[in-house]
Structure formats: structure tokens, C-alpha cells
């Protein structure tokens, strides 16, 4: 990793700690654990029903910006990671949650954060994870004659 000056490193680490504390207090027992891979990457594991409160804390309180949402097919479940960037600190906090593959569903955060609109639509279309409460869950990327329940990025078998 690139060498950091002592001042900036302390600043970033203290912000990670502050962020974790806030999330822990807001989520309660929906907060599972956290890990910091290096000074710039924090991974926070939560229960899936805590995502809306998490987004409120990050967007409203910390001024974070949603970079993207990644979904990973883990055979019997989906791992969904919400990557939030805190620009001033140069930190990416990824909120990780899972949903079982059968009847995969999550709460949409588009009403809190309009930027999530297309990102959630894309995941819905490519993985088949339903986002409850999404204002306009239509097709985005696949063609009009693509079959309804074929999800391109889902692993078969």
C-alpha cells in the first residue's frame, strides 16, 4: 500500500471507528461484525433488514456517496455489497448482507437515495433479487424478448 502520513492515517482510522460505532448503535442486533482489510476499506456485515437504517446513517449523517451495489452468487444465497464512498476520508465502506437464493428479496433504498434506482434495477434483472418498494422495476439492460425468469448472472447448478 502507498505510504500514508501519520496524520491522515489517524484521521481515517478514527472515522472508521466513528462510523462503526454509529452503525452499531443504530442497528442494534442487526449489526453482525466488521473487518477492515486495510486503511481504506471497511467491510460491515449486517442483517438484511437493517439496510435502510444503514443507508440513512451513511448518506444523511456521514455524507457518503453510493458508488455501486455488487451482488455475488454464492450457490445457496446471494451476497449483496453496498459500496459507499466517503470522499473526504478516501474510504470505501462496504455494507455486506445476504439473502437466500429461493425467493431472494431485499428492501429498496431508492426513496432515500435516488442514485440506487438503476443499480437495483440492474441487479433485479441480472440476478433475480426482488427489491421491495422500488418505484419503477422495469427492464434496463436485457432485450425485450429476453425470457422473464432467466437471470443471466445467476449460476446454474
Amino acid at each position: 500500500m502507498l505510504p500514508l502520513t501519520a496524520g491522515s492515517l489517524v484521521h481515517v482510522l478514527s472515522n472508521i471507528a466513528l462510523l462503526i460505532e454509529n452503525l452499531r448503535s443504530v442497528l442494534g442486533d442487526r449489526f453482525r461484525k466488521h473487518s477492515t482489510r486495510n486503511e481504506r476499506r471497511a467491510y460491515v456485515y449486517i442483517r438484511k433488514d437493517g439496510i435502510r437504517d444503514c443507508v440513512r446513517v451513511l448518506f444523511d449523517q456521514f455524507g457518503a456517496r453510493l458508488s455501486t451495489i455488487s451482488a455475488v452468487d454464492r450457490k445457496f444465497k446471494f451476497d449483496v455489497l453496498y459500496h459507499f464512498t466517503l470522499d473526504q476520508e478516501g474510504l470505501v465502506a462496504s455494507i455486506c448482507l445476504s439473502t437466500p437464493k429461493q425467493a431472494a428479496s431485499l428492501d429498496s433504498v431508492t426513496d432515500i437515495l435516488p442514485a440506487a434506482n438503476w443499480i437495483e434495477r440492474e441487479i433485479q434483472e441480472l440476478f433475480g433479487i426482488k427489491f421491495a418498494g422500488h418505484p419503477s422495476p422495469g427492464k434496463l439492460l436485457t432485450s425485450d424478448d429476453w425470457p422473464e425468469d432467466e437471470y443471466p448472472l445467476r449460476r446454474i447448478g
Binding site: 482489510r37 435516488p114 442514485a115
Partner: protein, 397 residues
């Protein structure tokens, strides 16, 4: 407000590069709403990347976009280097910086030319592209191709910059285009007709920009001071430094100015990087494939590009998620275009720099009479140029 007519624009868009479909809902000449449809060039790159080895993927993702062709491989390599905990050699970091900044210059000049073409100012378009040509020829000498440079690999870069031949050539090319670029920037800002066409059009407020999480020059023109090169320095940006240009008006003029100022700043960054580049190896062979997650972020000419890679220890990645900058910027067209007049539609769409190339037939649907007609680009372009002509006649000059 009643909706008089709907005007579909696309999929082969009249102003720029890739196919997208815009349906404009009109009340007379004013746009009241827009519906955007994507997917015409969805090629399944993430699907392919789950079936290719780590060595093949930089060459695959390079072809996501011809203009941002350095950004995607660099971002992917950074994500993998973070997962495998690889330290890229210093000289390679500087070379990545130099190639990235040269790419920014050529991309912004390309965009500026297209924007000038839409306004109807073809001379300016030709001049911008003329001065972009030396940069492309420079890439041919440095990397072997005008686009698709194939410079980045996991662990460093594939070709070196020769300190005798290449350095002198880079400096000479930059000193040749710098005065021309300054002249062209003044031609944009000081010409009253051009200003009338692009000032106060397509305004994106700071609050809207934050809610839509826009990135790049679109965000910086609306007052959000975000730039990956400054916030999370990668490659050699920590050593070389970058001066981020931020404006607050949020209109098309601000977006154009931010890009032109950035192109000028990129020239300075390249010069600083060439002065400070250390000796040493340019490539490190990875020894071990470490399972885990990694995120790579790079400031593309259009904004923040982010790649997320999950490795499972084999030589094929588990998941590669790619989010190009235009994905966040294109939805911001909706708030910018509402209330604007039809003649400005194409310019507002283009100002977001949605990464493309082309123009085709456009369908017009008159909802009231249920008649459909199609016009070709030339006649629609005449409409935009007529507005410029009337601005001149109305006494703006």
C-alpha cells in the same frame, strides 16, 4: 401541464458515441419529462469475466469503451492487486499516471469537439479534433495503438517509456497543443453566441447532484469537490499531486469549462510525472493468488470508475463487478432536461458525456394526430443551428 407530443431520440443517438434511447415528452417546444432506455450495447462483460483467467481480463475490459480504454484495465488491475496484496513497482505507477492523464486530455478534447458540433460551430469541432490528433499519434508511439493501449497488466505495465526518445516526444507534443487549447478555451468563453447557447442550460443543482451520486466533471461543475485522484490517490497521484477544478453553476458552460481546465491541468501533471519518474522495474510477477475481496477505483475522464473483484484462489475470478462512471451520470439527464427547450435537448444529453459515437434516423411521434414521421440527423441539426442563427440576429452580438 399537458403533454403534446413525445419525441423519441435514439437508439443511435444524434450527438455522441453509444446507442441509448431517450423518449422526450413535449409540451410545445418545452420538455416536460424524459424516459431513458439502455441496453443496446450490453455485451455481458461481467458474465465473460467470470469465465476468463486473470491474465485475459484486462484485455477484455479494455474493450468496454474505446475512449476510456486505459481506465478499465487499470481499475481491474488495481482491484486484483489489492486482493492479492501486490505492491506495484514505483516506475509502473508513474507510467500508469502518465498514460491516464494523456488519455484524459484526448477524451476531453473529443468531447469538446462533439459539443461544438452540436451547437453548430463546426470550425471549433475541427480544431478541437485537430489538436487531439497529436495525442493519438503519441499513443501510437508509446503504446502501439491509438486506442486499446494494452499497457496495464496485473503487477505493473507492459511497456516502458524510453527516457531518451519518448520523454522528448511527449513534452514536444504537449507544448505544441497547449497554446492552441488555450486559444480554443477562450473561443468558447468569449464568443457571445456560444455562451448564449450553453450558459444556464441543463442546470444540475448541488442537492440533485448529491442525491443522484453523480461523479466526475458533472459533479465538479455542480459544486461537489470529488475526485478519486485527490480523495484516494492511486498510481502516482500522491507524489505528483492534482489540482481539482470545481465550479458551482452546474450548467453546460461549467461542465465544458471544468473539462477544458482539467485537460490543461493534465498536461502539467504529465510534465511533473515525467520529471519525477524513478528508475526501476516496470512489472512484478504475482506469486500467489490470494482469495478475498478487492476494490479498485480510478478517475476516468467521465468520473469515478469502480471495479469489485472477488477471488476464490483459482485463476478464474469468482465475481467481477464493473460500474462505469456514465452509469451514475446518465440518470442525471432527467432533472437537467426538464423545462428545457427541444433545441437544447441534444446538448444537455451530450454535456453529461455519456461515452459514445454516432447518429442515425430519429423517429418523431405526434401523440395528438397519431402520426409518425422520421427525420434524418441533418434536418434535426438544422433546428439547433437555426436557434444559434436567431440568437445572433436577436442582438446578442
Amino acid at each position: 401541464m399537458s403533454i403534446d407530443a413525445t419525441l423519441p431520440i435514439g437508439p443511435y443517438h444524434p450527438a455522441l458515441k453509444e446507442p441509448e434511447f431517450f423518449k422526450l415528452f413535449l409540451d410545445g417546444e418545452k420538455i416536460v419529462d424524459v424516459a431513458i432506455r439502455l441496453g443496446y450495447t450490453h455485451r455481458g462483460i461481467e458474465y465473460l469475466a467470470e469465465r476468463k483467467t486473470y491474465n485475459e481480463i484486462p484485455i477484455l475490459v479494455e474493450r468496454i469503451c474505446g475512449i476510456c480504454s486505459n481506465v478499465h484495465p487499470m481499475c481491474f488491475c488495481q482491484a486484483v492487486e489489492e486482493t492479492w496484496e501486490l505492491q506495484v513497482p514505483d516506475r509502473a505507477r508513474y507510467i500508469r499516471t502518465i498514460v491516464g492523464e494523456l488519455e484524459r486530455i484526448h477524451s476531453h478534447l473529443l468531447w469538446a469537439g462533439i459539443a461544438a458540433h452540436i451547437i453548430g460551430y463546426d470550425t471549433l469541432f475541427m480544431h478541437f479534433w485537430k489538436h487531439r490528433e497529436p495525442v493519438c499519434e503519441l499513443f501510437e508511439v508509446l503504446t502501439g495503438n491509438r486506442q486499446n493501449y494494452a499497457m496495464n497488466c496485473i503487477g505493473g505495465v507492459r511497456r516502458d517509456i524510453d527516457p531518451t526518445k519518448h520523454k522528448a516526444l511527449i513534452l514536444e507534443t504537449l507544448s505544441q497543443i497547449r497554446p492552441s487549447l488555450l486559444r480554443l478555451k477562450n473561443a468558447v468563453t468569449e464568443d457571445p453566441v456560444v455562451r448564449a447557447r450553453i450558459e444556464n442550460i441543463g442546470v444540475l443543482s448541488r442537492d440533485q447532484a448529491r442525491k443522484l451520486c453523480v461523479v466526475g466533471p458533472v459533479a465538479r461543475a455542480s459544486g461537489l469537490a470529488i475526485d478519486v485522484r485527490k480523495d484516494e490517490p492511486y498510481a502516482a497521484y500522491r507524489e505528483v499531486g492534482v489540482d481539482v477544478k470545481v465550479l458551482t453553476e452546474g450548467d453546460v458552460l461549467s461542465k465544458m469549462l471544468v473539462r477544458l481546465l482539467e485537460a490543461l491541468e493534465s498536461m502539467e501533471i504529465v510534465k511533473r510525472a515525467l520529471d519525477a519518474i524513478p528508475q526501476g522495474p516496470i512489472r512484478l510477477e504475482p506469486k500467489e493468488i490470494v482469495p478475498g475481496d478487492g476494490i479498485g477505483k480510478v478517475e476516468a475522464p467521465r468520473g469515478e470508475d469502480i471495479h469489485y473483484v472477488r477471488s476464490n484462489g483459482t485463476d478464474i475470478p469468482e465475481r467481477v463487478k464493473i460500474r462505469a462512471p456514465s452509469y451514475m451520470n446518465v440518470p442525471s439527464i432527467a432533472p437537467q432536461i426538464k423545462g428545457a427547450s427541444l433545441a437544447d435537448a441534444s446538448l444537455i444529453i451530450a454535456a453529461v458525456d455519456p461515452c459514445f459515437c454516432c447518429t442515425e434516423r430519429i423517429a418523431l411521434a405526434d401523440v395528438k394526430t397519431n402520426r409518425e414521421s422520421s427525420v434524418d440527423f441533418e434536418s434535426l441539426a438544422q433546428r439547433w443551428r437555426r436557434k444559434s442563427k436567431y440568437s445572433r440576429k436577436d442582438g446578442c452580438v
